[in-house]
Symmetry: D3
Subunit: 241 residues, 6 copies
């Protein structure tokens, strides 16, 4: 039994508020327990200069945390005048993850920027960000179709995508770690999986002791189960039955 | 009659969600119509080096906007590597406004940082930020008293403080301008007023044509009325009857 | 009687050396007592990209202080690698003030940059900067007419503009505060007024105690009187009789 | 058969020039085929402020590329004034990897900075950097023992560590990808493994199509084989028999 | 005969206004023809951390140009967020030049910062800056003696120092080049010389064609003559007879 | 006799490894004793915008040091986010030196960037950089001719160029100073000379005591002898007989 009463293979309570923002083409406020991330998708016609004339679109992402999202306040990166390594790393991960399910030809010469801003942090912010960004992205694509920026019959989304964290704590593989578990994990892994169950990213790190093949396998099993549940929640949120 | 159905001297719908954040010592999500600002107050023992040993506390503020708070996306200041002039200016205004009702001796050697992050923008973000920051500040002060960081009988808050925008549109003075009105205003003024009805800041700018004394007087009247209503909402939010 | 022998409603000695710079299209070294600001106006054909093709000109301003303009040395913002909030704020104020009396259509597609560099500071640097920048601007406009960059009969200047500081010290409203008075003021206001006596900017701040309507009115009266005197000095400097 | 004549499970020619630098406490010029990385270990007594008094040491790493290490010149990050996301990400990976085999208690209050500068790049620079940094680190630890900065019988190195890239190209899993293969890989994985064969980091990315569990397993097998060979080369380089 | 009527070995009109600033411990506005540089010396007790406890003082310099000092406007380095190479280079040159005639032991643990701000530029700004900075420095040293920051009988100034530019134009060596000559010079040299006629810095650059030993000798002769004249002007400015 | 056994007028052992890089159009690893600098020349068609359409090429240089090139580690300028004054100064010196022997008309609209990265530092890094950069430059020019980017019969190189440091130590003029001598030198001079024996740059600095004309002459003699030897080594390295 875990501190919050969950079993090792159980997700936290997941809530997705679709269309939270009145301004963005697509948006979702996603909650994994106390972790809250506001994801917006901004779609604009045109692509960066280096991509012009190729008939392809572009998807990119930026991740950030409000200064008091965490238990103690962090200085703003805008005030410090530079992005930290962690911010860079997570922004790149989110971008790659969402691009993995995008057909840029079908998107046409449009650019989508996914902004994932952590309003409250309690572990798993990058996995919540990826999972919520997919919902915002899907709505921005629908908006573009309604507004004739992409063709009626074009489908830029080749699949859905979701992400979850898994880790080994006191020798037990566990799913969806809140902050208190995250800091105690010997091994910590973030796994990004498509709706059809294929891997997009596997990022495992030995925080404490190096891990063996059997532990790696157990973590991957858990991650596949968790992302399948998230894919189902995404599907329902977006109106599938 | 205004586009949103209000009379010239009517505030938009005002909502304050006290304690929105589980992490900060005080917090409020404040809404002026579609404008939504998350205000957190982070209180830590100790003061900046230049203030040490004087037995006084310090209050400061930082304002920022999420990139897609507005109708089109703005680049992040953290990515650009520097703060814009507007951000600097508003952060300084919020800090001065809140310091005006703080007795730093009574606060003792504690520092409070007020973070005001605009999640959705529709005009009046700086005035919503000041009004919401006061609620977060009051709760952080109460927290500090409960946690014995300030004395039981000390009262660092000498008054409450709130702010509102006023402007002249087509010759008519109007209260609490949303974005569509703000861009059309000939004259635009932000006024910060204490709960006891005294001025803390008066910032009037001729956006279109210079204004005369009579217009200035009309705007000040309207601002005093609006901030009195906000002071009452703050009082009720904080549990006064 | 004030420390420097003035009455409460008296300006310091004001000197404007027109054409101080041999390089700029317009320039003025302005002195408000010991405050000395070098104002230059640089006029170049063309406008920023976002304004192209609209047949309008652009006026902007930058304010800075030499490191030893003040009583103790400040680090250079160029060495620190970023502009402070105060610099941003004053640069924006100067720009707005001068734009208020410019007819950008009449200016045509020309850009004027006003540089206001404080060589020696003794209070009121922003108000001296605005007052001196107007003289430099007027000369740059004349230069542009002589050099056929604007039409012979076009008049981009719709009025003149000047600024002064006022404040309440020991309960007495006073005009044009030097540094020793500025730090003691309970309330401090900078007022920008056109030659025809209309307000462009009113920026009042309670440094000590919040102020009431009567105090505000007294300060505005004083400011209107002071800026009227400055307007007359500007007129004479520019060769009016 | 691969373009350079290797079999799919064959490493490129690996050369480690131990002690390349006369200045650093430990150093190695490592070559994976045409990829050349200069790794230096700088050991200094003392630790960063946040770690003082805990009796523990600190190991960190910085990765960079010379501007013309690659086929076309890249602008210097020092000239651009900021680090790119890729640089941040790899520096962090190298640091975590080396810390995984360090007993910070045994290291005592000493700091080791590992600098990995890519002099020539042809794929696999981060894996070469980790593998070479271990050799530099081992020599810096030996130097510290000789110079009595760590106790004679203390052993801060709990294991060795090496890294290799693996990828799937045209459906075939391959070991140690040079640049021409790297850009064609559908899936790309960097794996960091200890001398005793346990995982420290597993970072797999679907560059083209998402990958399934069987593909992941094949890549992990290949990586374990390759890192075992590298561990043996490290052992011989450091004078083991 | 030169464009401005001077002979090849003649200085421009040199003016030094000692004590131009009311704020600094020492100051001079120096003019070499139309080149005008404001030099201030800021003296504060104490030294940078790395020099503490050695009983020695520190002298450093910063050089900058106002944006419209030149014929066309340059962007501010504070706005660009970084210092250019030329600014760095000249600041370092001024600092080395002034340190060459300072006895840091006699100065005691005091720091002097020399700020040289070019208000108007017409060639030779760095040489005017060095020559004027010496006057400001001498006055700051006298001030420190009067204020008992250095001992009554201590003499931190071991000599005076001045600088001049020389160049070869159309084959003729010339002294003190204004901008129009500077851009035409085949070879350009800045020479810093003590009051006793010894070299502190010799910086010669072939702008057009490389130069031979005879040309170098002719330029050095001219520079020694010019700096001797400047030393005499400095002596008279500082009250020597 | 010097610490390393050389006579005062003797160069250190000079080694030039031509074509060290497989990536650059021209490259050389140059060693002056323990000083090692990797010089690459990157040639690309086209010129910076401000030079377009003039039928001329452009040559520029960037100098940098690896963090552990020196005896103690220096922080990376990329991490600090800005270039130091020394880096700027040396980059500019290298650029000017190489441009002095380039006929930009003959080069045509091509750009050559010379990167000089110090891998190990033991005094004289800037002079080694200039000497090695010439070899890289010559090879890049040959490459451009082979690749028809410049005409078969065009010769952009008007001469060769090399540089050496000289200094006065204990009253004795000495050639090619390693670090231990450099820090003790009273006077330090870097001299850049063409293959035909003419001066390109003379940069002499009194580190200790100012120097007289006789000392200057002795240093120049030594520098001319040393650069003549370097020119001969360059000629042989490039295949001359």
């Amino acid at each position: 039994m875990r501190a919050d009463g969950r079993t090792p293979d159980q997700l936290r309570s997941i809530t997705i508020t679709r269309g939270w923002s009145k301004q963005a083409e697509g948006s979702a406020l996603i909650e994994f327990g106390n972790t809250r991330v506001l994801c917006t998708a901004s779609l604009t016609p045109g692509v960066p200069r280096w991509l012009k004339g190729e008939g392809k679109g572009w998807v990119t992402a930026e991740y950030a945390m409000l200064p008091r999202a965490t238990n103690t306040r962090n200085d703003r990166e805008s005030v410090k005048g530079k992005l930290g390594g962690r911010t860079h790393e997570i922004s790149r991960l989110i971008g790659r993850s969402l691009r993995s399910i995008i057909d840029t030809k079908a998107l046409g010469e449009n650019t989508i920027v996914l902004d994932c801003d952590v309003l409250q942090a309690d572990g798993g912010t990058r996995t919540a960000a990826i999972t919520g960004a997919y919902v915002a992205l899907a709505d921005a694509v629908a908006w573009a179709r309604d507004n004739k920026l992409i063709a009626r019959n074009a489908n830029p989304l080749t699949d859905s995508v979701a992400a979850i964290s898994v880790g080994i704590i006191d020798g037990v593989p566990m799913l969806d770690l809140p902050y208190v578990e995250d800091v105690r994990a010997e091994t910590d892994m973030n796994v990004v999986v498509t709706g059809s169950g294929k891997f997009v990213e596997v990022q495992g790190t030995a925080e404490g002791a190096p891990f063996d093949r059997a532990e790696l396998d157990a973590l991957l099993d858990l991650a596949l189960q968790g992302t399948a549940e998230l894919a189902e929640i995404q599907r329902r949120t977006l109106g599938g039955e």
